[in-house]
Structures are given as C-alpha cells and as structure tokens.
C-alpha cells in the first residue's frame, strides 16, 4: 500500500537523515583536488576521531540533558575542572586509576549540584549552569594555582594516543570508550524505563509528574550522569594534553550544544538522539579539519562553521517537515 510505503521511506529518511549532513561535509572536502588525497586517508580520519573524543563525551551527557528539557552551560568548565583534578591527583602520587576516578567523580559532583539547584530551587537550568560555569572555572584555577599542573606521564596519557598499545586496538582507547558509552546511552534512551522517562520529562514535565514520575529525581540523575561524562571528558583532556590546564575548553559548551542540536536535539525538550549527536560531533570536527587542511584563514573557518550550523539545523527541520 502506498501509505505503508510512504512511511517506509519516511522512516529510512529519518534513520539516515543525520548522516546526510556528515556525508555532505566529507564529500565537500573529498572533491577538492588540493586536499583530496590527504583528507581521505585513514590516518586523517583517525586523527579527527581522536579530536572528537572530548566533545563527544560531553555531548553524550548533554543529549540527555537537552532531551529532558534542560541545558548545561557549565559543561566546558566542568571538563577543565576534572582535568585539573586528575592532574593534581596524579601529581600528588595517587594511582592513575584513582586519579581518573577522582576526575570523573568531580564532574559528577558538579552535575549533581546543578541538578540539585535546578530541582530544589526550581531555577532555570540556563542560569544555574551559567553560574556554575563561573564557579567550576574559578575552582579549577584555584586548585591549579592559576597554572597548568604538570603531572608525570602514566598510562592515563595513553588513553588518547593515536598509536595505542596494544596495537590491535587500532584506535585510541578514548575512541572505544566513546563508542561503548554511546551505545550504552542509546540503549538507555530507547530501551529502558529511565530513558522513556527522560523523554517524558522533557516533553511535558507536568504530565510526567501526573503520571507518577519522580521528575526531580530524574532530572538530578540526568545532570549527574552528564556531569560524570564531563568528568570523563576532562580525564581525556588531561590524557591528551598531559597537563591539567584550568583554562582549557573555554567556550566548548557551545560546540557541545551545537553538536546535540545539529543532531536533531530540540532545546525545548523531548527530542534528540545519541546517533544524531555523534554525527553532529563528527560534522563539526570534519569541518574544522577540512578548513585547516585547505589552509583557509581562521576567520573564513569561523564564518563557514557558523553558517554550517545554521544550514545543518535548517536541513534537519526540512527533513522533519517532509518526513
């Protein structure tokens, strides 16, 4: 039946839709003879993937938050704080695994406080997390004594190495971690009660409450999970830089949010997907990579990325309207 078929096509569009933008971006650079050969190499893709890890981890948590109808402007500060804490712990002689744990938990704690303030004081997330953005950044600088924290090299720094040990890993362990958590979060959102509840809270909080959902608990959990991801992202940042830098990732929260929104997340809640978000992250990374390869000046790059963000979301809208 035509009706059946039509929804079939719609579904296919919906499934592959997010990839269209990504393929377009890749095709764009792949067609330019100047960089073609270099751009399409596996090594370059690997390097883009590694660069994406930090934003991707942040964006995993941000996807949950945005679906639940919130936003987290403190994500980037939180990443910086976690990277400082990890470096501090390693420097103080803690076992690497303990340092990682501390970094991740710090992120989780910041998220928990965000969630607590949003639910207990019933403040808009934008404001709470904007305040927290300053607080976390300030704390990071404080702890680091306004400096980078130099930490001795440990296996933590292998997590983001493009030539991983053991070599059969092929990709940096960080990339595998992202893939693992992305699958886990996708399953969580789609196939668990908690996931459904996140969508419900974002779509209409009053309804969720009426249906007996513990909306506050759900929101706190979402912010805490997102905080943990920021913490992990901070650990990866430390792994990559080999120092704990309190000034790192300034403004990165906007990249993270952009990735989620390019991937179909709606800032009014109730919409978004992990797959879309991951594609959004890759679109941004490939754009940066391609522009740099072309040797375009930075301002051109800024303009292009700004324009692409708008175009990507406009396309997404169009897709939704026709599907």
């Amino acid at each position: 039946m035509s009706r059946q078929r039509r929804t079939g096509v719609g579904r296919a569009l919906n499934l592959f839709g997010p990839f269209i933008g990504l393929l377009l971006v890749i095709a764009l650079f792949a067609l330019i003879p100047e960089v073609q050969g270099r751009f399409l190499r596996a090594a370059n893709f690997k390097s883009v993937a590694t660069q994406s890890v930090i934003v991707a981890l942040g964006a995993l948590g941000m996807t949950l938050i945005i679906i639940s109808g919130g936003i987290d402007l403190s994500a980037a500060s939180n990443i910086a704080l976690a990277s400082v804490i990890t470096a501090y712990a390693i420097n103080a002689g803690a076992a690497p695994i303990l340092a990682i744990l501390l970094g991740v938990l710090t992120g989780g704690l910041v998220g928990l406080v965000n969630g607590g303030l949003v639910t207990r004081l019933r403040l808009v997330p934008f404001i709470v997390t904007m305040g927290m953005m300053g607080i976390a950044r300030g704390a990071a600088k404080w702890i680091a004594g306004n400096q980078k924290i130099d930490a001795p090299m440990t296996w933590v720094n292998e997590l983001m190495s493009k030539s991983p040990r053991p070599p059969w890993l092929l990709l940096a362990p960080g990339i595998w971690i992202v893939i693992l958590f992305a699958v886990a979060m996708a399953v969580l959102l789609k196939y668990t009660v908690f996931g459904r509840h996140i969508f419900a809270v974002g779509s209409n909080e009053a309804t969720a409450r009426l249906c007996g959902l513990r909306t506050n608990q759900i929101k706190i959990l979402v912010y805490a999970i997102s905080g943990l991801f920021c913490g992990l992202s901070g650990v990866m940042e430390f792994s990559r830089l080999t120092v704990g830098d309190p000034t790192v990732a300034v403004g990165l929260e906007l990249d993270i949010i952009a990735a989620v929104v390019i991937g179909g997340g709606s800032l009014s809640g109730g919409e978004g997907s992990i797959l879309g978000t991951m594609v959004g992250v890759l679109i941004m990374s490939f754009l940066r990579n391609g522009c740099t390869m072309m040797g375009w000046p930075n301002y051109i790059q800024e303009i292009i990325i700004g324009a692409i963000i708008i175009v990507a979301v406009a396309l997404d809208r169009l897709r939704h309207r026709t599907a």
Binding site: R6, Y191, V193, R196, S203, N204, T207, G212, L213, E271
Partner: protein, 514 residues
C-alpha cells in the same frame, strides 16, 4: 426554510479538502452560512470540524477548495487576514497568553491606540463590559490569565470573541468547561448577536445545546459532509443517524454495580490552595459525582488529594492505611489515578506518541531483563485504541496531532492501562462526542462493577445524574451537600452549587482567601 436567495450567503465554502500527511482530515466539504444564522457543525471526534474552522479562520490553508464571504472570494493568508475579513474564532484548545492579564488577552490584536500609544482606559472599559456580558464581573481584568482556572479561561476567550466586531463568529466547543449557568448565558448572548446580524458557526458535542441554539446544521463524517439542513423538523435521532450511521444510542447505559467497603476517605483534607478542609468517603464499586460552579474548588481538591498541590493538613486513607508520601508517585503506587482537566498543559505530552502517553504511568510490564520492548508496548496499546475507538494512525502517532476528543480518550486510556483502582476523573468527557461518551459511561460502569472506585468531577449535570450513585456539591471550596443521586435533580444541584444551601444546616459562608 429561510429565504436567503435574495442576497449571497455570508459564507460559502466549496470543495474544501485538507490532508495531514496520510490522514485525510477533510474531503471535498461544502458548506453555506446564512445571515444572522447559527449554524451547527456536528460530527464524531476527528470528523474534521476543527480543521475546517481553522481553514476558515486562516490558521491553516486548505489543499483545495474555495471560500466566499458575501459573494466575494476569500482566501485568508493568516489569522490576521481572517480577522480583518470579519471572522473571529473561539478555538477548541484554549488559546491565551498566560503572562498577560485578562484585559491584555481580551484586547490582544485589537488594542485601542492612538498612533501606537495604548489607550488603557478605553480598553479597560471595553473589557469590563464584555466580562459583564458573560456575567462574570468578578474576574479581575488585571489578573494574569495563567492564574485562572480552566473554566474562567474559557470565559475570557468568549469575552474576547465578543469584543470583536465580527461578521462571523466561530465557536469550537465553547461550553466544554462551562457550567450550565454560564452556558445558558452564552446562549442568550448568541441570540443577541443574531439580532445584530452576526452569523455564528457553533460546534459542540452537547446535542441538546445545538438543538436549542442552532438554526441549521451540517454533519461531518470522516472528513466528508454527510448532510445538512435546518434544525426545525430535525430530531436528534436523525442527527445521530447521520453522525454514526445508527439511529439510537443509549446515552447513559445502565451497568449494574454495587458499592462495597470504603476504599478512599479524605479526613479534613486541606491543601494550601484549598479554601477549606474537605471530608468525604468513596467505596469500592461506587461512582461518586462532584458538582459545582467554575472555581468552586473541585479541581483543587483532586490535585491536593493526588499530591500535585501542597497538603496543609488532614489525612487521606486508602484501603484502610493512611497515605504517607506527598508526591503523585506515592498515590499511583497505592492505586490512585488522575485524569487532568487540562489536557494541553498537563494531561498529555503532545510530542510523544500515543503509545508512550498511554503507558507512561506504568511501563513495568514491558520490561524484560531491564530492557523495554517497544513492540510489546505497541501491541498492548493497539488494544486500548480499539476499545476506546481512538481515531489515530497507530500507536506511533504523535498525540499532538490527534483531534481534541481523541486526545482526551488517550488521557483516559492511560488510567485504564495503569489499572488504577481509584479513578479521579476531572471533566473526563470534555470534548468527547456523544457516541463515545456513551461508550465511556459504559466503560466507567464496567469499572465500577469490577470493584473500582470512581470520583467523577463534572460540570455537565446530566451525566452526573445519569451515571453516578451519589453526588456531592461544592460551593466556594466547601463540600456543602452529599446525597444519593436519586435524591437529586438538576434544579437541586444547581441551587446547591450556586447558593451553597444545605438541607441540614445553615449555609456555610467562607471567605476565599486565595
């Protein structure tokens, strides 16, 4: 028949069609509205009535068809255009800006001004007049609309439509949240408008209302016009026949049930937003009706009972044990379920699917080893869609795309799915067509027979009298009277609701301090 041949009709719609994706909401519908006439648009939930009126007002554009006003082609580019051409509309879903005051909402888009500067005094005067007209001068023009109850909001909408100097006024279920008294007043107003040569298109599922106010009617079925004519000489049976293809329906089907032991009692329950403490008892297998005027505090009592508003004092006892928690989930765990009167704001998550909305309060059955099975969820929902005859493309359709009545059914379906043993229903048949209503009454009766307890809040007295075992009346936040249904009649209910008189004691006058 009236003779309207001399002048062209006020409005003519011809061959109008509209599809939403695969849903054909309107299919080649034609329609004529005469001068100073009240024309009723009738049809089941999802028949296409609201869609047609939105096309008329310019809110959506048709796929095909022509419209004429006074013989001149009319193709509004948007609601602004429609208003300018003299079409104003009371929308089915409440259509107000919550932050703005009553005055600002009523005058929205038609502000009195000189060169852009507001003339507040003039507007205040107009607004007071129109509130006077709907006989609710106590509604303050300076209160933000977001603070009003649903009923008061609907009155504001009506007041807004009245301040318009329009040729055509469309009323899409204007009385769905009104009490009988307010509805009566609306009919008087409609009569007045007719006298001023204003034509009215009136949509309602209360067929007896239609019989009273309408001059002519058009019946829609599945997006097609299946008949029209004058009201004179047409019986309700004929109309129902056109609507659903069967002649007789029993509006209040009798389902035998007997009350058992008490399951829910409120012992001087008092919430921060309730005017005074309320005590009542509900038994298994009992349908307890709650009557009252707009703002009489019924909704607030339900919300407090369900833990949505702060509890200040008193106790709620369910099956012999006092409720301890303060939040809705504790109520749900003890078998309570609430159907909200505000389906847009609270009752439903419009962006989620039918399946998710119906199962939201109880997803546990679809969980295996911690993971949900969407297909099992869909299957379960498909059954409910069938039982309630919900017109939807399937379990995966977004609830926001359903017609008003079908949305209401989804909200009700959730309580059924949740297998609540005490159902708290706040205006459950709002916007539901007459056939579905009868089904729902039967369903509720069936629930009572299974031993479930039902608290049935309604402003539609016939249904209270038709299906309840006992009816309590609220007046200004106070439960003034409780009697078995057999001891009530419509007049008695009205009297108790309006003056709060009780047979046993002196009237309790309580100042509402909220």
């Amino acid at each position: 028949m009236r003779d309207v041949a001399a002048a062209p009709p006020v409005l003519r719609m011809a061959g109008v069609s509209k599809s939403f994706g695969a849903t054909r909401a309107l299919d080649d519908v034609s329609f004529v509205l005469g001068h100073g006439q009240v024309h009723a648009l009738i049809g089941e939930n999802g028949a296409g009535k609201s869609t047609m009126m939105k096309i008329l007002s310019g809110a959506i554009s048709p796929d095909a068809g022509r419209m004429e006003i006074d013989g001149r082609p009319y193709a509004p580019s948007g609601p602004a255009d429609g208003l300018r051409c003299g079409v104003s509309m009371i929308y089915q879903e409440l259509n107000l800006a919550p932050h703005l005051t009553v005055e600002e909402n009523i005058m929205l888009g038609r502000e009195a001004h000189t060169a852009g500067w507001l003339d507040r005094k003039a507007m205040m005067r107009k607004v007071r007049e129109s509130l006077e007209l709907v006989r609710h001068p106590e509604i303050s023009p300076e209160v933000p609309v977001g603070r009003l109850s649903v009923g008061a909001k609907q009155l504001v909408e009506i007041a807004r439509a009245l301040t318009n100097r329009s040729r055509i006024v469309v009323m899409d279920e204007p009385t769905s949240s009104l009490t009988q008294e307010d509805s009566q007043r609306l009919f008087e107003i409609i009569r007045g408008l007719k006298g001023q040569d204003v034509s009215i298109i009136y949509i309602s599922h209360f067929l007896e209302e239609i019989q009273r106010v309408a001059d002519s009617y058009t019946v829609l079925r599945d997006g097609r016009s299946v008949g029209s004519g004058t009201m004179e000489g047409t019986s309700l049976e004929d109309i129902i026949q056109l609507m659903v293809g069967q002649k007789f329906i029993q509006l209040f089907p009798k389902v035998e049930h007997t009350a058992g032991e008490p399951v829910l009692s409120l012992n001087s329950l008092k919430g921060t937003r309730m005017a005074s403490p309320v005590s009542l008892t509900l038994s298994k297998g009992e349908i307890l009706g709650v009557a009252g005027l707009v703002g009489s505090g019924r909704t607030e009592m339900l919300r407090t009972l369900f833990g949505l508003d702060e509890v200040e004092g008193g106790a709620v006892v369910v099956s012999g044990a006092e409720l301890t928690g303060r939040r809705p989930w504790t109520r749900i765990r003890r078998g309570l379920g609430l159907l909200s009167e505000d389906r847009q704001g609270e009752g439903l998550a419009p962006a989620l699917t039918v399946a998710d909305n119906m199962t939201l309060s109880d997803l546990a059955p679809y969980r295996r080893h911690g993971l949900l099975s969407p297909s099992r969820q869909r299957r379960a929902v498909a059954g409910l869609i069938g039982t309630l005859k919900i017109k939807a493309k399937g379990p995966d359709q977004k609830v926001g795309d359903l017609s008003g009545g079908n949305q209401q059914k989804v909200a009700l379906a959730r309580l059924l799915h949740q297998k609540a043993s005490v159902l708290l229903l706040d205006e459950p048949t709002r916007g539901i067509d007459v056939v579905s209503k009868s089904q729902i009454y039967e369903l509720i009766g069936g629930l009572a027979r299974e031993g479930k307890a039902v608290l049935f809040v309604s402003s539609y007295l016939p249904e209270l009298l038709g299906i309840c075992d006992r009816i309590v009346v609220f007046h200004r936040g106070v439960l003034v009277e409780s009697r078995p249904t057999s001891a009530w009649d419509a007049a008695g209910l009205m009297a108790a609701a309006t003056v709060g008189r009780t047979s046993r004691e002196k009237p309790i006058e309580q100042r509402n301090t909220v």
